[in-house]
């Protein structure tokens, strides 16, 4: 079998599992990353304190690509500001654009996200926008210079699964960039389903952070994502619906 790489902005990855690092303790991160087999981990940017609190960067294993998000941004301009501060921390050009000004459902604002994507792509960032799966918005993101598109399966943290399945499928079919399902994935089976559909990768955080055994759940997701990817590449078999065949065949009129 030929090599199957996830390519984002000229960077190649073997793993198709993007792991979030929120909502669980730092000393579990290393084990979670290793069990997940993840090569990309997301981070957020916050004001720091001067005490001796441990820093997350000290807990992330070597060689992992950091994907800072712009959480907290309510407008494109704020997202750009956060992204630039993140880059100043010297951890690469990747950024997951996240613009939210809805505190109840935490749904992304596609319009502001497109604007932020355009500004950041021009600044040389590898931009991975988190978005509501709308085909027109996705096309605008492509034109704005995105390197991958990250549609949500369900609201952040809801663990509800692929509520937007049909619309994500449209993005997979129509958009030439990697489609990475982000947010809402609650179970390994849902991650597997997203991969079977042809998603390029899955991002998960809450599902793992809220599991009884965090590293074990990270491992379960890894296997589910790999299984889904393999199934997609293998080509899903389907039973042809026979039904009743037409009483008068459509091709009876033909002459050779």
């Amino acid at each position: 079998m030929k090599e199957d790489k996830l390519v984002i902005g000229n960077h190649e990855f073997d793993s198709r599992f993007i792991l979030g690092s929120g909502k669980y303790s730092l000393d579990l991160i290393d084990a979670a990353v290793k069990h997940a087999g993840a090569q990309i981990i997301t981070l957020a940017l916050r004001r720091t304190t001067t005490d001796d609190a441990a820093n997350i960067l000290d807990y992330i294993p070597e060689g992992i690509t950091l994907l800072p998000n712009t959480s907290g941004a309510r407008t494109a301009e704020e997202a750009v500001r956060i992204a630039k501060l993140s880059r100043e921390l010297g951890c690469g050009d990747f950024v997951k654009v996240e613009v939210i000004h809805d505190s109840k459902y935490l749904l992304p604002d596609n319009y502001e996200t497109i604007k932020a994507t355009e500004m950041l792509a021009k600044e040389g960032f590898i931009v991975m926008p988190y978005m509501y799966p709308d085909l027109n918005a996705a096309r605008d993101l492509v034109n704005a210079g995105a390197s991958a598109i990250m549609p949500l399966g369900a609201p952040i943290g809801s663990n509800k699964g692929l509520c937007t399945k049909d619309f994500i499928q449209i993005l997979i079919d129509e958009i030439d960039l990697p489609i990475i399902v982000d947010a809402g994935i609650g179970k390994p089976s849902q991650a597997c389903e997203a991969m079977e559909m042809g998603a390029a990768a899955v991002m998960a955080n809450t599902a793992i952070a809220t599991a009884g055994d965090i590293p074990a759940m990270a491992g379960a997701f890894k296997h589910a994502i790999e299984a889904g990817r393999t199934a997609y590449l293998a080509g899903l078999g389907r039973v042809i619906e026979k039904g009743g065949s037409a009483s008068s065949p459509l091709t009876g009129f033909l002459k050779n």
Binding site: S21, R46, R47, T50, N55, I56, K84, L85, E88
Partner: protein, 65 residues
Amino acid sequence: MTVNGEAKKLSGDSVVLADFLVQEGYKQGRIAVEHNGRIVPKGEYGQVVLSDSDTLEVVTFVGGG
């Protein structure tokens, strides 16, 4: 001076940013600094002179999804 939203008194005139960060105990390799809305490249920490009317944001990575 305002640092991360909190008032802070400078120890004297012409305090340089680099010294201020050391005094305050920030982990130099783990932060990014915005001075009056402008991101300060690490190489310029020694040249930025702080005054009491300044606003400083000092940020770092935390867990996030």
